[in-house]
Subunit: 226 residues, 2 copies
DNA sequence: GGCGGCATGTGGGCGCCGTCAACATCAGGA
DNA sequence: TCCTGATGTTGACGGCGCCCACATGCCGCC
């Protein structure tokens, strides 16, 4: 649909991209288990095995979809972060950014459960992947989270001692929330309950970190401008 | 191996249980995707399709394995809880019990990654499942968690207002930690880092809840007798 | 004691799947 | 111009879940 200028017969012209796009469609509505090379080939109007000219095996295609999913997740987080950026008070802004990052993460998982599941069938190990080929720092959920936490230390809200392994704690909480609600036991919860529980959870993280420096937090201020 | 007194030929005699045991073995070493009815039938020495006399379809078998896995998870949590029970001070005991429950949860996930994954392909929705057929309260990770949290309120460590949705927060954190380390991006972390991060994470939850009542916590006391 | 019914196990088949091997088609450079 | 490499096709193999018809043997009932 996008740009098929070349193809008419034998050689498709843009098969690789066409397969990826079809795969994304399928992944969105059926998740990772619904991805089948033969099915995708059929959808694109090409014979089975054609895909093997562009992907070593099924996993390679799934990895590609996961990559696109990661970009979408990053975008969702950045959208929420942009809003939090407008808070004027530096401390409240830093706190809001952490909450926003988590909120965006869960938003994406609930809005795109299929892609979210695919994403975590082949997620890059975090210590790498944070730096692009040219050495520039890429935007990636893990580096965004770390930036938020470093910020919280800078503004004096999070004690340096409590910074250790805080990425793991935050990521665990938010990821667990997403998994439990997307494919886990909480998948039947109502959207209202879900949102309320998420606010409670993000607030709990905030309050816990406030305690690390004895910072005073007012109830409700974190989600005042949600 | 266990009790095959009957069988020699045509009728196996104990096929259902044999299939489940074989399925558990496979699940432990290959996870849910490694479970195939035909393969299991082959292992048990019976023809394909025989399994259909005991299970409606593949999912039914997986559900059965998930049930056994849930029992094992519950046992792992109870083992840790029993240790925490020995703490004399009531407040510290209640806090230790919550941490122990989480610790047991993660222990199980890391010790039995295959079963853990199977478990969450068909986990019962929590509001149900907490009460057995005879009306007695069953032991179940979710009810254990709720009991721990109620305890924390009783001893005055957790504010009643902060009790709302606290199950979700705690479960999310611990489940996310487990998932990230079992099959997620943190799967390559060293056992030492893992354990250190887990202690930090469980401590963070404790400190956050202490803040809800202004309770004073001493560093290190939670994991003194781990 | 014989017999019939029902639970249990067998064998074959269908349409999926991923993957390998051999062959067909086409575009672009020597 | 032709040939070479990239790309797409056809065919096959084994494995899967599941449906069918058929075989076997245990049980209770007359």
């Amino acid at each position: 649909m996008s740009t098929p200028p070349a193809a008419a017969s034998y050689h498709h012209g843009n098969l690789r991209e066409a397969l990826i796009e079809a795969a994304i469609d399928v992944a969105r509505e059926r998740g990772p288990d619904g991805l089948a090379l033969r099915d995708l080939a059929r959808r694109v109007g090409v014979s089975h095995n054609a895909a093997y000219r562009h992907f070593a095996d099924r996993d390679a295609l799934v990895d590609e979809v996961a990559g696109r999913g990661l970009a979408a997740l990053t975008a969702a987080m950045q959208a929420r972060l942009a809003v939090a950026e407008r808070v004027v008070d530096p401390v409240l802004r830093a706190r809001s950014r952490l909450a926003a990052a988590g909120h965006g993460y869960v938003d994406f998982a609930l809005a795109e459960p299929g892609l979210f599941k695919v994403l975590f069938t082949s997620y890059p190990t975090p210590p790498d992947g944070a730096v692009g080929a040219d050495g520039a720092t890429e935007q990636d959920p893990f580096v965004m989270l770390n930036a938020c936490l470093d910020d919280l230390v800078s503004v004096g809200f999070l004690a340096a001692a409590a910074r250790v392994h805080a990425e793991i704690t935050c990521w665990s909480t938010v990821h667990g929330f997403a998994v439990l609600h997307v494919e886990g036991p909480m998948r039947t919860a109502s959207p209202a309950d879900r949102e309320a529980a998420l606010v409670v959870t993000l607030t709990a993280i905030d309050r816990g970190y406030a305690a690390s420096t004895g910072a005073v937090v007012a109830p409700g201020e974190l989600f005042a401008e949600a």
